[in-house]
Symmetry: C2
Subunit: 433 residues, 2 copies
């Protein structure tokens, strides 16, 4: 296996080509050494727009960018397409699907994955949405169920196919339920003349007292108001007890018969095996110090969603958002260069520029420091920030065109069932022609 | 099953939403009756650009368009997403995956599929490219094999991963091999600095004496010359004897060790079960008269690739190209209206406007009646015709942008492995996250 032919030192191995891993790799551009970036996908994903891929408004390929292309001009970096299984820190080695890789410094930028809180039934029957393939599976499930509802005679079964339940009122749940409600309001009756608008239901279920709990009260209130106006039925202060693929039971006693449950109720760090139990903390994240060094390890670091930098100022660690990962990636890159040169490191300080969530056409909420915006202005800011954050000029243009087309026609996007989903076994259909 | 609730007569059922089926359905817009369009995909595919989806130059969703959206404004038409199994002509009924559908008039517009000529080993190990999912599978296979070659130590195994063999020198084979050669020439070394351009080989194998046998001699000669200049190794007058997933054996005695074989050597009509053997002719097509009526049936018609209109002028039927299907669709629509009104029908006459094939950057061949063009002018015509033929303004813009970006940067397209392909079992990976 030629993975160990990379012998130039210092050798920095980064696991994960998300927001943090890419920023770190770029910061190491002038390092006189070897940088390996390992990812199980051959592309970077712009996760904030996954929900639009799921609802078919934009194309999966517009929010993904090949890692090799990002680093065409960085000579000290090699992209490795492989799945990391575990870490053997005693031998400074990681074990991948394609062989072992040794390192001088290891950085975990593996991000987070959906947290089903150990409920295997919910994990089997609900749809997560944390990567491109999950978003495409969700798109297939929704479209296939709308098609099936069109041909279903039994009124109860038909309604179950038309009931959409989103569990989790954070940004993902809010944006997805808004997007589904707009689909219902503007597209459904055009595509399926026999489905009346009112027959499709969108439910949003959140355990906390308010939506967007991490944002300001203004944002929470406006999100709830706008979603209610769009026709989303919101339940706060309730939790899902169980879901067997047919019946969703809520802990206030209610049940909803549905074939579409999207699980956006929590995340946990995505860690390879091999960390000492003492290094892993709440939310399956590795605990790091203010230089992002993992507790108990000399040359292993972690950034972004996989890391918990627990300090007096941040007792829960930082929020799991792209700006934290990007800032930690850049900061750690500078610190690694300092460490290699034998210079003292600097502690990480998060510069919180604010947060945004979109709810629907002309509707968004924005917290920018002490300024809280909502409505059209916030929506324009949201569009601008997201377009500018996409990697690749062509991607930006294509997403802009898709949005412009949706905005003008109330009916953008190609809602294609390209990966057929087996809605009985809840997995991808292999003979999916 | 509510499929049989459609009870307005006359009831015309069209199987297949390809070029012919769509044209026919549109022609029936003002029919005072019921039109059902049944397809196993929920989208129409612009097949001439599939090879660019396979090589990652354009996005699958840009050459696909949802059938429901195409017919938003046609009140007498209903789109049914179902798989047709067989025809029960005695009862004027078709049997689908979602129930039975009866008809007054049935039109088969099912197109063609890859012909492996009964060789199961070749069917198992080679990649066909007749629909979007096959093109995406092919893209995954090629990219995964390039990734694997990057990590492979054994030089023979490495070369096998870098050898690309296209079987069939018709338009698909010519366009695909040209596109792969351009990828090799302009992109390979950027994406994989360790792969030298020369190590990737593109072979084109054709049984006839010339490429593009259906076009003019000028076109054939220029195609061969241009492909050779791009570095494609062309073999004419030879046939593939066998391929076991590792070794391809040609009937002139040569062998090529390769993991990438694309089968574009033939097509056959795609027919549901239930036709009398006498109605089915060469190439698994149903034989039709000059009104596209299937031999031996009163109210069943067939158009496009699934039909063979064998006359003195067309002893082999018409070529399997989009213009034939579209013209037959439109003509049959007009004839059906005549039949319903009790008027005499008119025979179909194909208006051949010419044919085009692209070979690479600035290179194409065109036969326009007696005018034969090649090079830049033919390439511009090819681009214009294909852009204008795409369904949907946004699709046109997106494909144009992708092409412009490729043209300017020599490196367009997002080469993403989104559907991971199991290269051992030669099928889609289910746990493909």
């Amino acid at each position: 296996m030629r993975l160990n032919e990379f012998t130039k030192h210092p050798k920095i191995v980064i696991i994960g080509g998300g927001f943090g891993g890419i920023q770190l790799a770029k910061t190491l551009k002038h390092l006189d050494g070897e940088v390996l970036l390992i990812d199980r996908h051959n592309y970077h994903t712009f996760q904030p727009l996954l929900y639009q891929v799921a609802t078919g408004s934009i194309q999966a390929e517009s929010i993904s960018f090949p890692l090799r292309k990002i680093f065409h001009n960085q000579d000290n970096l090699t992209v490795i397409y492989a799945n990391v299984k575990s870490i053997d820190s005693a031998n400074n080695t990681i074990i991948t699907s394609d062989g072992n890789v040794c390192y001088d410094y290891l950085v975990l930028a593996t991000g987070s994955n959906t947290n089903f809180f150990g409920n295997q039934q919910i994990e089997h029957y609900t749809m997560p949405m944390k990567n491109v393939t999950e978003a495409l599976n969700l798109r297939s499930l929704m479209l296939q169920n709308l098609e099936a509802a069109f041909l279903e005679e039994d009124p109860d079964k038909k309604q179950a196919l038309l009931n959409f339940v989103i569990v989790g009122g954070g940004p993902t749940g809010v944006e997805l339920s808004g997007s589904l409600a707009e689909f219902r309001n503007h597209v459904l009756a055009k595509d399926f003349p026999e489905h009346k608008k009112e027959t499709m239901k969108v439910y949003l279920i959140e355990g906390k007292t308010e939506l967007l709990a991490a944002m300001s009260e203004e944002a929470s209130v406006h999100a709830k108001k706008n979603l209610t106006e769009l026709g989303v039925e919101i339940s706060n202060d309730v939790h899902v007890k169980s879901y067997d693929g047919e019946l969703l039971t809520i802990d206030d006693g209610r049940t909803i018969r549905t074939k579409n449950v999207i699980w956006a109720a929590g995340v946990k760090g995505e860690l390879p095996e091999g960390f000492s139990p003492g290094a892993v903390t709440k939310g399956n994240r590795v605990q790091v110090d203010t230089t992002n060094r993992v507790h108990g390890y000399e040359n292993i670091f972690a950034i972004g969603d996989a890391a918990a930098m627990i300090t007096l100022d941040t007792p829960q660690g930082h929020p799991g958002v792209a700006p934290v990962a990007m800032q930690q990636g850049k900061h750690l890159g500078e610190n690694l260069i300092r460490i290699i040169k034998g210079e003292p490191t600097k502690p990480f300080v998060y510069n919180d520029k604010g947060s945004l969530a979109t709810i629907g056409r002309n509707k968004a909420v924005a917290d920018l420091g002490k300024i809280h915006l909502h409505g059209f202005i916030a929506w324009l800011i949201w569009i601008f920030v997201h377009l500018m954050s996409l990697v690749g000029f062509t991607n930006r243009l294509i997403v802009f065109l898709s949005w412009a087309s949706s905005y003008l026609t109330y009916n953008g996007g190609n809602r294609l069932i390209i990966r057929r989903f087996n809605t009985k076994e809840m997995k991808l259909e292999v003979d999916s022609d």
